[in-house]
């Protein structure tokens, strides 16, 4: 692991934001999954899959990525970061990878926790549960989506730089624009970076509609990688030519 990447990971670990985020994400996910498992009836395997895919880690790591990169500008730490690592594109790459890793870890903790809780409750109620193969299938989808969205968040933070504007913009995109686009024009909406492609990876439509409107998981992964690549390219170009005054 390069010193630059280790430094970025250390940055993540040495503020309370990441730890707080893990706690909030785990708590929220467990509450939602616990209530769903307790209050629901006649679960099918598809229902359980959908329940176990319902973790907040993808959304939160997206916002954490935005905060982590835009925060460099907000706190004006970008200057000391660039002084320590003057190769700006490598610095951006290290930050992007570190948030992808953080997304993976966050999603792993959350998904395993909610799977354990949900399985215990459903078993106790005599409802259907999932086998190891199904659980592993859900797990990789959640991990990949969280990793790529963490990286995408870094790119958005680097492009927009204003934390509030970036976060509000992403929330509007994720909760209004993309779901609407997916409903009204699924051929376009399924390629979206915050809902369309991640839904393709999970295989669950956010509108409760036909999953056939979504991209195949492998294609969705490639599309999201494409969004991250595009974001990286734009952010790198801006970062390279930007004067840090």
């Amino acid at each position: 692991m390069s010193p630059l990447l280790r430094g970025e990971l250390l940055k993540l670990r040495t503020t309370r934001t990441f730890v707080t985020l893990v706690g909030v994400t785990v708590a929220l996910s467990l509450v939602v999954v616990g209530l769903t498992a307790i209050l629901g009836d006649h679960f099918t395997k598809s229902d359980v899959r959908e329940t176990f895919t319902f973790d907040f880690s993808s959304l939160f790591i997206l916002l954490l990525g935005v905060t982590g990169m835009a925060g460099e500008w907000r706190h004006r730490t970008i200057t000391s970061s660039v002084l320590a690592a003057p190769a700006r594109v490598r610095l951006l790459a290290a930050k992007l990878i570190s948030y992808a890793l953080a997304g993976t870890v966050l999603s792993l903790i959350v998904t395993v926790a909610l799977m354990a809780l949900g399985t215990v409750i459903l078993s106790a109620r005599g409802e259907v549960t999932l086998g190891a193969t199904d659980l592993a299938d859900i797990l990789w989808r959640n991990l990949v989506a969280a990793a790529l969205l963490g990286a995408f968040g870094v790119c958005i933070g680097g492009i927009v730089r204003n934390q509030i504007v970036a976060i509000v913009g992403l929330l509007v995109l994720a909760f209004a624009l993309e779901p609407a686009l997916l409903s009204l024009a699924p051929d376009v909406g399924r390629f979206g970076p915050t809902v369309g492609a991640p839904s393709g990876i999970s295989g669950i439509s956010p509108n409760g509609g036909d999953n056939g409107e979504l991209l195949a998981p492998a294609v969705a992964v490639l599309v999201l990688i494409g969004w991250v690549g595009l974001g990286f390219g734009v952010t790198a170009a801006l970062l390279r030519r930007r004067d840090l005054v």
Binding site: P3, L4, R6, G7, L10, K11, T14, T15, R16, T17, G71, H75, R76, T77, T79, S80, V82, L83, A84, A85, P86, A87, R241, D243, L244, V245
Partner: protein, 296 residues
């Protein structure tokens, strides 16, 4: 090759010429004061040197290499910028640990530099609770982390109390005494006068004066002669006709770059009676305002 070389540096921001053709060196084992009024281009020059902004023309290098081309730059150059900022939620120790990991320095250096700047006891407190002086000390600790050959400090005494300023003065001298090249910008002229060996003075992005402190205070190699005459205007005119630079200081004339003997000879030739004639050393403030065109 000097540790710091600035050659014909230009930087334009739109239609504003922030730096216009600056050239100077910073030598090892010496503290070089970098002076100029607000907006003179000092910070822009330092940021160009550190690769934070792109020069429009010219070069600013460390031993001929741009900052971004240095291997492990923190072992070559330590920098304290005017707006040194830290993540408010991170402790001083963790801030330095991040820099140590990124710069491949032993983690033991973190405690060493914390002790060197007097922050050991506050090291585990979050930076948002730090005073401005403590932040400045932390910035200096970060600059010293890689034990660099060159120190660049932009207004390092900002926020320091009098003991802190005294500490900073000693630090600069110690760093230079150990062979490092130190470039320090400051608006506290009295402080600079006590700390520096060489001076570079700029205004409006342009060089206005450079040399050893003695040279700048003396107005040039020949020093300054202070003279009082019965007809100062006639004497001033005679001196200026001979190519000397003359400044008015009340009823006195300060003649730059010459000796009292030469002034006396010119006065005799011009048939002007002298009331007093003596060598004089200018204060740095006087030299600064004379060179930058400001008023004391």
């Amino acid at each position: 090759m000097a540790p710091v070389e600035i050659r014909d540096l230009h930087k334009r921001f739109g239609s504003v010429n922030a730096v216009n053709g600056l050239s100077f060196d910073v030598e090892p084992g010496r503290v070089t004061g970098f002076l100029g009024p607000n907006g003179a281009g000092k910070s822009t020059t330092l940021r160009a040197l550190l690769g934070l902004i792109r020069p429009t023309e010219g070069t600013a290098t460390f031993g001929g290499r741009r900052y971004e081309d240095l291997d492990r730059p923190s072992t070559r150059v330590g920098a304290v910028l005017e707006d040194a900022s830290f993540h408010p939620g991170r402790s001083a120790r963790n801030h330095l640990r991040v820099l140590a990991v990124t710069g491949e320095h032993p983690l033991g250096r973190v405690d060493e530099v914390l002790a060197a700047v007097g922050l050991s006891e506050a090291a585990d407190r979050r930076v948002k609770g730090y005073s401005m002086g403590m932040r400045q000390r932390l910035a200096i600790a970060a600059a010293l982390l890689g034990d660099p050959e060159v120190l660049i400090l932009d207004e390092p005494t900002n926020g320091l109390d009098p003991p802190g300023i005294s500490w900073m003065r000693r630090l600069l001298r110690e760093q230079a005494a150990s062979g490092r090249a130190v470039l320090v910008s400051s608006h506290l002229l009295a402080e600079v006068a006590q700390s520096v060996d060489d001076v570079v003075i700029i205004a409006n992005g342009e060089m206005r004066g450079r040399g050893t402190l003695a040279e700048v205070l003396g107005g040039g190699e020949g020093g300054v002669a202070e003279v009082r005459a019965q007809d100062p205007e006639r004497l001033a005119s005679a001196l200026e006709q001979r190519g000397h630079r003359v400044e008015r200081d009340g009823d006195r004339l300060l003649v730059l770059g010459t000796s009292p003997a030469e002034v006396g000879a010119i006065a005799l030739e011009a048939q002007v009676a002298l009331i007093g004639l003596a060598p004089r050393t200018r204060s740095l403030e006087t030299a600064f305002f004379a060179l930058t065109g400001g008023e004391a």
